[in-house]
Structures are given as structure tokens and as C-alpha cells.
């Protein structure tokens, strides 16, 4: 795989993944990135509408979800740090806004995870369509 004229190492060259130390030919599932490169025409696959809509669908979920959880999470230390009076407001008994807000973070994390798992079932179907197209 080495190209003697160009000192720059090729990405994805033979160094990519170590062979697994067997003397017989590898079974299909152990082929490295490089060895089965030609099995699939990656460029053509990447250009299909199916793949493009998969990427779009994923981005439509992942980007907003990431922004929501980051904003929600960091508002806890921000509010505790810079609005301590508000956060110390007691809701019932000694249970205050700060504690309830911290608890709600757990709920938020679980809800986003649940929503993602639901959405990902759709991504899986879309990915299967891409794979079928690619290996046909």
C-alpha cells in the first residue's frame, strides 16, 4: 500500500487495522476497512437520496436534542451560581427550587434518551434501505 514517491502516509492504508494473527484467509467479517473497500462503492452510496435523507433525519433530531440538553444542564450551575436567592426558594417543606431543578435533570436525560431510541428505530430502517441499495 505504500507509495514511494509521496512520503505522506496514506490514510486507511495497511496500518489501519492489525490483522488478527491467523495464517488462513480471513473470514468475511474480519476484513479490515481496507480489504473490503472495493466491496462497496462508498461514493455512489453517499450520493443516493436514501443516504442524504438519513443524514438529514439524524441531524434534525440530534442537533436540537444536543442543544436542549446542554442548555438545560448548564442552566443548573448558572442559576445556582448567579441566582442563588431564586434557587433557594422553598417549594414545600425545605425542598427548594434548586433540588427540584436538579431532580428534573435526571428526568430530562431519560426523556431525551427515550425520544432518541424511538427516533433511532426510524434511522435504522432508513439505514437498511441504504445498505440494500449499496449491496444490490
Amino acid at each position: 500500500m505504500s507509495n514511494d514517491d509521496d512520503p505522506t502516509p496514506l490514510s486507511g492504508s495497511a496500518t489501519d487495522v492489525a490483522p488478527l494473527g491467523r495464517s488462513t484467509p480471513k473470514p468475511l467479517h474480519e476484513l479490515t476497512a481496507d480489504e473490503d473497500r472495493d466491496v462497496v462503492d462508498w461514493q455512489r452510496l453517499a450520493a443516493t437520496d436514501e443516504f442524504k435523507s438519513l443524514l438529514k433525519a439524524k441531524a434534525r433530531f440530534v442537533v436540537p436534542a444536543t442543544i436542549v440538553f446542554i442548555v438545560y444542564y448548564f442552566s443548573l450551575p448558572l442559576l445556582v451560581g448567579y441566582a442563588p436567592a431564586l434557587m433557594a426558594t422553598k417549594v414545600f417543606g425545605v425542598v427548594n427550587v434548586a433540588y427540584l431543578f436538579a431532580l428534573s435533570q435526571f428526568l430530562m436525560a431519560w426523556l431525551i434518551a427515550w425520544a432518541y431510541v424511538r427516533a433511532a428505530a426510524r434511522f435504522d430502517r432508513m439505514a437498511r434501505a441504504v445498505v440494500e441499495k449499496g449491496t444490490r
Binding site: G12, A14, A33, F106, W110, V117, V131
Partner: protein, 520 residues
């Protein structure tokens, strides 16, 4: 023989049996490094939780809440929310595009040797720092828990070190995984039991429990007896830098967890990306429940045992075991102590295997030997030898530092390096077509160096003379890591890497050509 020692020995016997079973069952690199990629979602999910919830979580957070109330609980939150980064951004593409290590994903489209060398360096840095922190804490703790048997700090450190080497060298990833599963189940069982006992103490009335939390009495630094509302924020993170430090810590957790090598390698142990996703969800359920229950452990210790008693009997790390003793006597104290011991062992075994894998796979095979094994099975053999060295070095350093060393900053450092060096390059490599080798090397180097330097200038090291006022460098070092990666990228062009991005993107998103499970 004390109850605690008997339970420790019981746990050791079970884990050694697991190791023997795993050693018989598995052969070959896929089995050693990735448990044959045949774990189920719940198995890996529980193992992720077991790998993640360290003694710092179980004993440390309970202790911080017992001593500083609400601020300690706020600490708990970030440890769960961090898994959203793992779930949404890292786990599935990593599983689809990599093989054994974090650097696999980088080497996929970048020049393999430099990025693997840097990746291995950063992995080893994170793992060893984290491990030394665990070992020092563990040694002090075990000798404290087993006080009656006269086991010294040195004996405890050597014992833990030898055990983790045995798990990894003989049992590989499969044994490590099952040790983590057993530990996670024990930890959850102990935590749930303790929480129920705390509530029972207050007659199962949340009202009575929180009323007690509202007026905790203790002796403050000036020697006066004070009564304080432990639900009120600000006992730990006070102005002027408290809020900033907290945000900085949050950043290290949210971005660092998805860059911790010992967590990342866990996603190679499942058959496909779907299973990896489900295992993150399992892990989130367990980790979330655990951290919510720290409310009862921490506040329970503050109200039932009392801060003064804990301080006089081993310090804040002993909060959870002392709470167990106060609620249900010596046998339960022994049980909770054994869980703490199991917790430490499972985490250090996970760290050892990720460090050894990275050295053998990234550095030995790929950087030094051009990606080819010289002899059959060499990569696994090198990993086993590395585990010996990593374990040996950690034992020596932990003994040299001694039980009183302040090692908390080492955990902050591990997370800071993971967040500032590893995460930026993983994310950019997966999502930015223009990203290249120079960028990866610059990003890893800037993240690593800035974390180290900022920690060296922080109050953790320099005390009152600190040049950098925060204990957690994340707020500065994470942007620096990203900046280094972006600037490095823009300085050079690498058409190869950009061309290969298409392939990586198709693979990462569809799982086409991903490593499959090997049948046993």
C-alpha cells in the same frame, strides 16, 4: 476473622472463578480485546455502569453531600447527563467505524501513525492518572475498612493491583466485563438497601426526612456548633469562583465522559450499533437511579450519623459505610465495605484493559510495526505484558504517594484530558469533512498540554498561590482543544482525508462493513 474480610474474600473468590471461566472460554484478539463482540445490550449496559461508577461516586459523592449538602448533589447530576453525549453523538459511529480503540476511529481517514501515537499517549495519560487516583483512594480505604485485621495501606494497594492484573491478563475483556457486572449489581443492591433503611429510619416519611435535612447540626471550622439547611446551595461552591468552577466541572463531565477510553472501548464488545445504543440506555437507567439515590446516602449520613462523627472516624469518604453501620450494624457495614472494594476493583480492571489495548493495538502493532503482527497472537501477548507494567507502575506510584496524598485532582485531570483532547478530535473526525491529521495531532496535543498545565497552576497543586483560580480546567482547556484542532486543520490540506470522509460517514451511519461478532 472480621465480617468485612470474609466478604472481601468472597468477592475475590467469585471474580477469580469468573476469570478462570473467561480464560477457558476465550481465545484470540477479538475475544481478548472485545469479549468476542457478543455481549447483549443489558450485559454491556450494566458493565458500562460498573465501569463508570467509581469509588469517587459511591463514597466520594455520598461524602460530599454528607458534608456540603446540596452542592454535592449537584455534582451527581452531571454524571448522568454526560451519557447523552455518549448516546447521541459518540457510541454508534464509534461502534460502526472502529475495532478496538478510540484511535481506530481517528486512524480511519487520517494518517494512522501520528494520530494513533497521540491517541495512545492520551489514552495512557487518562487511564494512568485515573488509576493512580483510584489506587491511592482504594488503599487508604481498604486499610481503613479492614482496620481490625491490621492490613496496611501497602498490602491493600498491592492486593488490588495484583487482582486487577490477574483479571485482565488471564480473563481479558470478558472477565473484566463480568467483574463489572457483578460489581454494578452489588452496588445497586447495596445502595437501594441503604436508601430503604434511611427512609425506614424516618418512618418512610419523605416529609420527616427532608425536615431533618433542613436542620443539620455540626461543628464548623471555628469549633462552633451550627445548624444549617443542607438543601441550600452554596456550602461548597462559594463566590468568587464557585459558580465558574462548577460550570467548568460540568463541562469536563459532559464532554469528558464521551472521551474516556475505558468507557469507549465498552462499545466494541457488542455485536452492532443498535446494541451499543440500547446498552447506553441500560447504563443511563442504572446510573441515573444510582445518582438519585445518593440523596438518601448523603443526606442520610448527614442527618443520622452526623458530620462530626464521620470526620472523627475516617473522614468524608467513610460516610456511606458509617451510615450502614449506624442503621444495621457490623454485618451491613461489612457488606457496604465489600461493595466499595468491588467498585474499586471493577473500575481499575476496566482502566487497565483499555490502557493495555491502546498500547498494544495503537502503539505496538500500528505505530511501531506498520499494522502487521510479527508473530501470530502478538498483539494480545503485548497487551498482557502491558497490563503487567501498567499495574506494576500504578502500584509503585500509589505506594510512593502514600495514603494521605491528595489525589482528587487526578480524577479532575483525567476528565479534563478526555474532554479537551479526546472528545474534540473524535467529534471533528466524525462530522467535519475538512478535518485532517495535523488538526487531530494539534487538537490532542493542545488539549493534553493545556489540561496538565492548568491543573499544575490550580489551587489543587499550588494551594493559596494558585495562578489559575479554578480546580477544574475544562472551561478553558476544552475550547483550547477545539481551537487547536480547528487551527491545525486549517493550516494544511489533506485531500485523502477529505475523500475518505465519505466512506467513514457511510460506514458510521449505516453500519456497513462494521466489525461483526465472532461466534464462540
Amino acid at each position: 476473622m472480621s465480617h468485612a474480610l470474609a466478604m472481601f474474600l468472597g468477592f475475590i473468590a467469585v471474580t477469580l472463578w469468573i476469570t478462570w471461566w473467561a480464560a477457558r472460554k476465550s481465545a484470540g484478539a477479538n475475544a481478548f480485546f472485545a469479549a468476542g463482540r457478543s455481549l447483549t445490550a443489558w450485559q454491556n449496559g450494566i458493565a458500562v455502569a460498573g465501569d463508570y461508577m467509581s469509588a469517587a461516586s459511591f463514597l466520594g459523592i455520598a461524602g460530599i453531600i454528607a458534608f456540603q449538602g446540596y452542592d454535592g448533589f449537584m455534582y451527581s447530576v452531571g454524571w448522568l447527563v454526560a451519557y447523552l453525549t455518549v448516546l447521541l453523538i459518540v457510541a454508534e459511529p464509534l461502534r460502526n467505524a472502529g475495532k478496538y480503540t478510540m484511535a481506530d476511529v481517528l486512524a480511519y481517514r487520517l494518517s494512522p501513525r501520528p494520530v494513533r501515537a497521540m491517541g495512545a499517549l492520551s489514552t495512557l495519560t487518562v487511564s494512568t492518572f485515573y488509576m493512580i487516583a483510584q489506587m491511592v483512594g482504594a488503599g487508604a480505604l481498604v486499610s481503613l475498612l479492614l482496620q481490625s485485621t491490621g492490613i496496611s495501606y501497602q498490602t491493600a494497594v498491592i492486593g488490588i493491583g495484583v487482582l486487577m492484573i490477574v483479571y485482565v491478563v488471564f480473563g481479558g475483556m470478558l472477565a473484566t466485563t463480568w467483574v463489572q457486572i457483578v460489581k454494578a449489581v452489588l452496588l445497586m443492591a447495596g445502595t437501594i438497601l441503604l436508601s430503604i433503611l434511611v427512609l425506614a429510619h424516618f418512618g418512610f416519611s419523605f416529609g420527616a426526612f427532608f425536615d431533618a435535612v433542613g436542620q443539620v447540626t455540626y461543628t464548623n471550622a471555628q469549633g462552633n456548633t451550627v445548624t444549617q439547611d443542607f438543601m441550600t446551595p452554596g456550602l461548597r461552591y462559594a463566590p468568587p469562583y464557585g459558580a465558574l468552577d462548577l460550570i467548568s466541572l460540568g463541562m469536563a463531565l459532559i464532554f469528558g465522559t464521551a472521551g474516556l477510553p475505558h468507557i469507549l472501548v465498552r462499545f466494541y464488545t457488542v455485536p452492532d450499533a443498535q446494541t451499543a445504543r440500547k446498552s447506553v440506555v441500560w447504563a443511563m437507567l442504572i446510573i441515573g437511579s444510582f445518582y438519585i439515590l445518593t440523596t438518601f446516602l448523603g443526606f442520610g449520613a448527614a442527618t443520622i450519623v452526623g458530620r462530626d462523627f464521620i470526620a472523627a472516624n475516617g473522614g468524608n469518604n467513610m460516610s456511606a459505610p458509617l451510615l450502614a453501620q449506624a442503621l444495621a450494624g457490623d454485618v451491613f457495614f461489612a457488606f457496604i465495605s465489600a461493595i466499595a472494594f468491588a467498585t474499586i476493583l471493577a473500575v481499575v480492571a476496566g482502566l487497565t484493559i483499555s490502557a493495555s489495548t491502546s498500547f498494544a493495538h495503537d502503539f505496538w502493532t500500528n505505530v511501531l510495526h506498520g499494522g502487521r503482527e510479527q508473530r501470530e497472537g502478538e498483539e494480545v501477548r503485548v497487551a498482557r505484558i502491558t497490563a503487567f507494567f501498567v499495574g506494576g507502575i500504578s502500584i509503585v506510584i500509589a505506594i510512593v504517594l502514600g495514603p494521605t496524598a491528595n489525589v482528587a485532582f487526578l480524577v479532575a485531570l483525567a476528565f479534563a484530558v478526555a474532554a479537551s483532547a479526546n472528545l474534540p478530535v473524535i467529534v471533528l473526525s466524525l462530522f467535519w469533512r475538512r478535518f485532517n491529521t495535523t488538526g487531530a495531532v494539534c487538537g490532542l496535543a493542545t488539549g493534553l498540554v493545556s489540561s496538565l498545565v492548568l491543573i499544575a497552576m490550580s489551587p489543587s497543586i499550588l494551594r493559596a498561590d494558585a495562578i489559575f483560580p479554578l480546580e477544574n480546567p475544562g472551561i478553558v482547556s476544552i475550547p483550547l482543544g477545539f481551537l487547536g484542532a480547528v487551527l491545525g486543520t486549517l493550516l494544511t490540506r489533506e485531500p485523502q482525508a477529505e475523500h475518505k470522509f465519505t466512506e467513514l460517514s457511510v460506514r458510521a451511519n449505516t453500519g456497513l462493513g462494521a466489525e461483526r461478532a465472532s461466534s464462540h
